[in-house]
């Protein structure tokens, strides 16, 4: 899952980025409103974390222009503005959730997962495909009820594929899901992770669609 972090406070951004990356998110960070709009234009994100007090363009302003451009990315506002009026304004401008600083990293993670889940049209916190069950909250993966240990990147890849069963994701789309800006991507990293996942979850759990990419088949 790829998230755009819009935050002008460098310390907060550094901390959030570290925490999210450890949870398997690919994090892109921008510090001002103009950069946020440019980034959202150029890439596709599963989620946006938006601070309101931003240099150049205010967060609410960024949100309004995003929605005006029919950009559907789920937006979670993280801000120090705690007045009810501000929260109402933020949600009415098109935000999907509102979190007040200081916040708990666990809560941030839970809300982000909830937003992604809702955006994908799922209500169950646990995703099932065949014999595999994935819990994005606990990052627990079960194969026939038995726990499987995955690395952060392997989990990120599985999470991206299992979020939309039946959808084919290209190698570059998968790379986008698991790497933030500036992160060094190994030349055949995706293949390496797919190989590892197949080894752990069964050879035909992830199908290769020749010339297009990879998918987890929809259950019949």
């Amino acid at each position: 899952m790829r998230v755009l972090l819009v935050e002008d406070d460098q310390m907060i951004a550094a901390g959030v980025r570290k925490a999210l990356r450890a949870d398997g998110w690919a994090v892109d960070w921008v510090q001002d409103g103009a950069a946020a709009l440019a980034a959202a234009d150029g890439e596709s994100y599963d989620l946006m974390l938006l601070d309101l007090g931003l240099p150049k363009r205010d967060g609410i302003d960024v949100l309004r222009s995003l929605r005006a451009k029919r950009c559907k990315v789920p937006v979670l506002i993280t801000t120090a503005r705690d007045a009810v009026a501000e929260r109402v304004k933020g949600l009415d401008a098109g935000a999907d959730d509102y979190l007040i600083k200081p916040f708990d990293l666990d809560e941030l993670g839970a809300r982000m997962r909830a937003l992604v889940r809702r955006h994908a049209g799922r209500t169950d916190a646990v995703i099932r495909a065949g014999a595999v069950t994935v819990n994005p909250a606990t990052r627990e993966v079960l194969l026939d009820g038995a726990g499987v240990a995955l690395s952060a990147r392997e989990f990120a890849l599985l999470d991206a594929l299992i979020a939309r069963p039946g959808a084919v994701l290209s190698k570059s789309q998968l790379e986008e899901k698991i790497y933030g800006w500036g992160e060094e991507i190994g030349s055949n990293a995706v293949e390496v992770y797919i190989h590892a996942l197949r080894k752990k979850l069964g050879a035909d759990f992830i199908r290769n669609v020749r010339g297009l990419g990879y998918m987890i088949p929809k259950e019949a």
Binding site: D32, R81, D106
Partner: protein, 465 residues
């Protein structure tokens, strides 16, 4: 406790009493004068009515207890012919006309005249006349004395009535909530109370203004404290989540930076609160703290204090020119101001840059300047007004932002370039503090380009008295 009402009653009664006493005394004196005239005339007439021919002595007349008028008659040769009251110790001599004699039995009024062949002397005790005068005086003043308690009651109630508006104002002030600072109504108040209420309203107005400033400040501060607190919470949770010693050490390092940033913000907030004009208007005036300050020594001290940090950052910080200048001010506040300016310069000047500090006097213009010129990115002219606003932060300089963007490497170590992070995460208060302290000292802060056009030159201009 001093009571206006009691004081009024006591003083007014005392004055009335003194007045009554004085009136009594004057009546008494007047009555005395009149009684004297009357009785003297009577003595004269009585003397004239006595027989003028010689008569034989009738010494030793019966002793009359009533000593209304004592009569002595002598013949011209000095032989006493008649003495009405032998016990009365009157002198055996006679001076013609009126005289007053002092005897063991009081003063006597004596009239001597020659009637025919005899010398006649009539004497009357003064006490008779004094009693008469005292009687007149007493009859004049007793009604006033009887009225005195009534007067007291009247004064008591009139004063009470006059002071009632004060009671009204007191109740109005008493029943207020502490944050109700709207003015008290001053219509229909007596002219004596109105200035007090006006003065109170003036104070309330100033208080309301000060309170508004403080409220805005506290609201801003509360908002601004959230960011470092948010950072602290995140850093703490990352520390909890650290899986090995290396991660833990790194998380601890970040947490330390977070704590020092929060500490710095709190320190800056306190410095600003101290320099806040509203708070100083309420407490002691700054001028109360004014002392002679050696500007050159103070600036050099600040530069010395920042020299280690500057050299650690690879910035050449030095004093370019320093003239001795003495000004009057609060040395501690001025130190905070120069430290903030030098701190900013060190923060924003890239490695290899240069910061020149100078103290100059312009005798002809009557001012002294402290200049701090850096070779940093400078401040665009349209930002120069806003940077003095509380919590205003300039958009991060581009080279720093790029650095952060690129710091997102897979390796966790790559984004621990905390130096860069600390570099520009100021409190947003530095220049606001500088501005306030300068204003307190009647100084002006100017932001200009450096002489060679690169970087920022801050000039603090003090007026020399």
């Amino acid at each position: 406790m001093r009571s206006i009402r009691r004081q009024m009653v006591i003083w007014l009664l005392a004055i009335v009493l003194a007045g009554v006493g004085l009136a009594g005394w004057m009546t008494y004196r007047q009555a005395q004068v009149e009684a004297n005239e009357l009785f003297d005339y009577q003595l004269e007439q009585t003397a004239a009515a006595l027989p003028a021919e010689s008569f034989s002595s009738v010494l030793g007349a019966q002793d009359q207890p009533d000593e209304g008028v004592v009569i002595q008659i002598w013949r011209r040769d000095g032989v006493q012919l008649y003495y009405s009251h032998p016990r009365v110790p009157l002198a055996q001599t006679a001076r013609l006309g009126f005289s007053t004699e002092h005897t063991p039995r009081g003063d006597w009024r004596v009239y001597s005249a020659i009637v025919g062949d005899n010398v006649v002397q009539l004497a009357q005790p003064m006490s008779v006349r004094n009693e008469l005068a005292a009687g007149v005086a007493w009859r004049t003043i007793w009604p006033l004395i009887v009225l005195l308690p009534l007067l007291g009651v009247a004064i008591w109630s009139v004063v009470g009535r006059g002071l009632r508006p004060l009671g009204k104002v007191t109740r109005a002030v008493d029943s207020r909530r502490p944050d109700a600072l709207d003015p008290l109504p001053d219509a229909r108040l007596p002219v004596e109370v109105r200035p007090l209420v006006r003065a109170l309203n003036g104070l309330l107005d100033r208080l309301a203004h000060a309170l508004d400033t403080q409220r805005a400040f506290v609201a801003d501060a509360a908002h601004e404290l959230r960011s470092p607190l948010a950072a602290l919470q995140i850093q703490l949770q990352l520390l909890e989540r650290a899986r090995d010693a290396a991660q833990r050490r790194e998380a601890l390092d970040d947490l330390k930076h977070g704590v020092s940033r929060a500490t710095r913000l709190v320190e800056q907030l306190l410095a600003l609160a101290r320099a806040e004009p509203a708070s100083t208007a309420l407490s002691a005036d700054v001028s109360a703290k004014a002392e002679p300050v050696d500007l050159r020594a103070l600036v050099e001290e600040c530069v010395r204090a920042y020299a280690p940090l500057a050299s650690q950052r690879g910035v050449d910080l030095g004093v370019e020119h320093a003239e001795p200048v003495a000004i009057s001010g609060d040395a501690d506040a001025l130190r905070v101001m120069f430290n903030n300016l030098i701190d900013n310069a060190v923060k924003y000047t890239p490695r290899g840059g240069r910061i020149d500090v100078a103290v100059r006097t312009h005798r002809d213009a009557g001012d002294a300047c402290v200049e701090i010129a850096d070779s940093g990115p400078g401040i665009p002219p349209d930002e120069r007004e806003r940077v003095f606003d509380r919590f205003y932060r300039m958009p991060a300089p581009d080279h720093v932002a790029e650095g952060c963007r690129e710091a997102g490497a897979a390796d966790v170590k790559a984004d621990t370039d905390t130096d860069t992070v600390i570099n520009v995460s100021g409190s947003g208060l530095g220049l606001a503090i500088v501005q306030r302290i300068a204003t307190q000292h009647g100084a002006a802060v100017e932001l200009t380009d450096t002489r060679d056009g690169h970087g920022l030159r801050v000039i603090v201009r003090f007026r020399l008295s």
